[in-house]
């Protein structure tokens, strides 16, 4: 009997009209055009917490693509993270919703089928508080480099 087909969720997180916050959704749309794969569902969302848990249920693997701001970070730098990178954030008290990592913890506590490990591609951004369809100049200048790097990583991820 054949093993059930693996299902992979690739989720671009961010607001598509909020300057650099659109980096996640735009990268996921790019990956969808470059890496068609029957195992993969490409989705975008500007949400968090419980909604992400609902979206991720039923998948064996998940890759989130999101924006990040780190102190001293260089705009356009790209990080490949796993949920282990966020250990310290697992039990934060949130202001409105629970964190997505806490949401996954909840899913596991309820024996839902959620990915064992969450992979995250995070792109260092500059501006996410101003409405615009365009990236900030520093991120826009590195857009091609960003998407090529993420595509290379993503192809490795698919092979794993």
């Amino acid at each position: 009997m054949a093993a059930p087909a693996e299902r992979i969720l690739v989720l671009g997180l961010g607001n598509e009209v909020l300057t650099d916050d659109a980096i996640g959704p735009r990268l996921v749309r790019w990956l969808e055009s470059q890496c068609p794969d029957a195992r993969v569902d490409y989705e975008v969302a500007a949400t968090g917490g419980l909604t992400i848990l609902e979206m991720a249920e039923g998948y064996q693997r998940a890759l989130f693509v999101d924006a990040i701001k780190t102190r001293g970070g260089v705009p356009g730098d790209v990080y490949w993270l796993t949920d282990e990178s966020f250990d310290n954030a697992l039990h934060l008290t949130s202001v409105h919703d629970i964190s997505f990592l806490q949401a996954f913890e909840l899913g596991r506590a309820l024996n839902l089928q959620v990915p064992d490990k969450v992979h995250v591609v995070a792109v260092e951004i500059v501006e996410d508080l101003v409405f615009s369809n365009e990236f900030s100049p520093p991120v826009a200048a590195r857009w091609e480099e960003i998407r090529e790097k993420v595509t290379d990583w993503f192809r490795e991820f698919l092979l794993a």
Binding site: T47, E54, H91, D97, L110, E156
Partner: protein
């Protein structure tokens, strides 16, 4: 492949801040609450066809997209001087009832319940939704997710997408319901209603049966004597989707009741140099500072504010619970901030009942989905009740319907002054002179604003998916003497 470990608590910018200023004796002098605000939405809208705005505004916020979509759709109706058809209006209300069910379940179980089920002074590592599930059982957690999913599926079916809703068109909606879909919604609505009743029971068993919690709600430092605002129908019953905005004073006497296009006669917005967000207040009363009482124009537009501003609920079970709440808490209006949790559950019950009633309405599968547009567009205001407060969208266009200007007052903004005042009152009462506050005390200060269900998600899209909160303690000379991040 580059791997790094990041602690986003300390590295993420754009978080909420509570600044607590201490006096010489170590007591609390003042408290400021600061959050980032998105900028440039009006400019972003300018030059676009106004009928695009209901789709664009869903991207303002990942938590309240349905609210913005509804307010925007109504504003666009007003711009074109048209009313949606009876079926279209009912479909919009059906969607919106599901939106409320979805949101209120999340707040109660993920945000409110940890304080009461796990305990307000419990270990922060346990005081979260996981701790709630450990306390009440995994079966309840499964039901929470199941009913959120039901509500989400209804929204997706009607709205075309769970967050990027494409339902509202000028004068109507983009799709109707067939009988098979209606039956599916009806079954989910029945289940949601049972779950709403169960949630009320949990509140009874866990909160109201605990004398300490009732004492905290009624006698703790969580009371503000403010005006109350909410949308009401022609019988002054709570209505999330349509009606007039009613404001009552501290005794429950009507201060005003205005139609959406009159909002600027009654609401003014104040700017403070220390905050990006504005502070709306009642124009006829005036801004007297962050003070309570009838001479201060500060108001609340919350679940409790909505119930205070109304004469009741439009569905039987919610009305029963409304009456029980006010009988228990001493009559309307109630000024106990933590009673918002109970009010939110009354609204959950109403939303579920309304959802079921609409799913059984004989007109809901009609095919009269749009009213033809015949008027020249110009200006329009749309108001709905977002879960977090009264939401106003106001658009101006040229005669071709191209947007010249937009103005939005979002739900949480209405409550900005009230949140600041609640925090200050709680901090002054709970933080004792000469005793550094522990985690439990800090959480009880946070409870003062968590009750409002403030929505800052528009600033939280960056990792880790929610907005951290920072509490800074300032000595009398302004230096930060202690900083706590969550």
């Amino acid at each position: 492949m580059k791997r790094i470990t990041i602690d986003p608590i300390t590295r993420l910018e754009g978080h909420g801040k509570i600044e607590i200023f201490l006096n010489d004796a170590g007591g609390v002098d003042n408290v400021y609450f600061q959050i980032p605000e998105l900028r440039g939405f009006e400019t972003f809208c300018e030059g676009r066809p106004v009928e695009e705005l209901p789709q664009i505004v869903t991207k303002i916020c990942g938590v309240c997209p349905g609210c913005h979509h509804m307010a925007s759709g109504k504003a666009v109706d007003a711009v074109f001087g048209v009313q949606p058809t009876p079926t279209a209006r009912k479909l919009r209300e059906l969607f919106y009832a599901a939106h409320y069910v979805h949101s209120h379940i999340a707040h109660f179980y993920a945000l409110a319940a940890p304080d009461f089920v796990v305990g307000p002074t419990a270990d922060p590592a346990k005081r979260n939704v996981i701790g709630v599930i450990e306390a009440v059982g995994a079966a309840v957690g499964t039901e929470v997710l199941k009913h959120r999913r039901y509500a989400q599926e209804i929204q997706k079916l009607l709205g075309g997408h769970q967050t990027h809703v494409v339902m509202n068109l000028p004068g109507g909606v983009s799709r109707g319901l067939n009988e098979e879909e209606r039956k599916g919604i009806e079954e989910k609505a029945k289940s949601c209603l049972e779950f709403a009743k169960f949630s009320i029971k949990i509140f009874n068993d866990v909160v109201l049966a605990n004398k300490t919690y009732v004492d905290i709600i009624l006698n703790g430092p969580y009371s503000l004597n403010l005006y109350s605002m909410g949308l009401v129908d022609e019988n002054n019953l709570v209505n999330f989707y349509d009606g007039k905005v009613r404001v009552v004073d501290q005794e429950g006497k009507e201060h005003c009741k205005y139609a959406p296009n009159e909002y600027r006669d009654w609401i003014e917005e104040r700017v403070e140099p220390w905050s990006y967000l504005k502070f709306p207040y009642l124009k006829q009363i005036g801004w007297k500072g962050f003070v309570e009482g009838p001479d201060s124009g500060v108001y609340q537009a919350t679940p409790l504010g909505r119930l205070n501003a109304s004469d009741g609920m439009a569905t039987p079970l919610a009305q029963e619970e409304y009456e029980r709440m006010y009988a228990t808490l001493g009559g309307s209006p109630v000024h106990a901030t933590l009673a918002m949790h109970w009010a939110r559950l009354v609204e959950l019950l109403y939303a579920a009942e309304h959802l079921l009633a609409l799913s059984q309405d004989e007109e809901i599968c009609g095919d009269d989905l749009r009213t033809p547009l015949t008027n020249t567009p110009r200006e329009g205001v749309g108001i709905v009740e977002a879960q977090r407060g009264t939401l106003t969208h106001h658009y101006w266009t040229d005669s071709n319907g191209i947007v010249e200007k937009a103005n939005i007052i979002v739900g949480t903004t209405n409550n900005h002054a009230a949140i600041c005042m609640s925090l200050k009152k709680a901090a002054q009462a709970l933080i004792k002179e000469g005793t550094p506050p522990d985690q439990g005390v800090l959480n009880m200060v946070e409870m003062a604003f968590r009750a409002y269900d403030p929505c800052f998600s528009c600033a939280t899209h960056s990792l880790p998916g929610h907005m951290p909160l920072e509490v800074n303690f300032h000595a009398p000379d302004g230096d930060i003497v202690r900083s706590v991040r969550r």
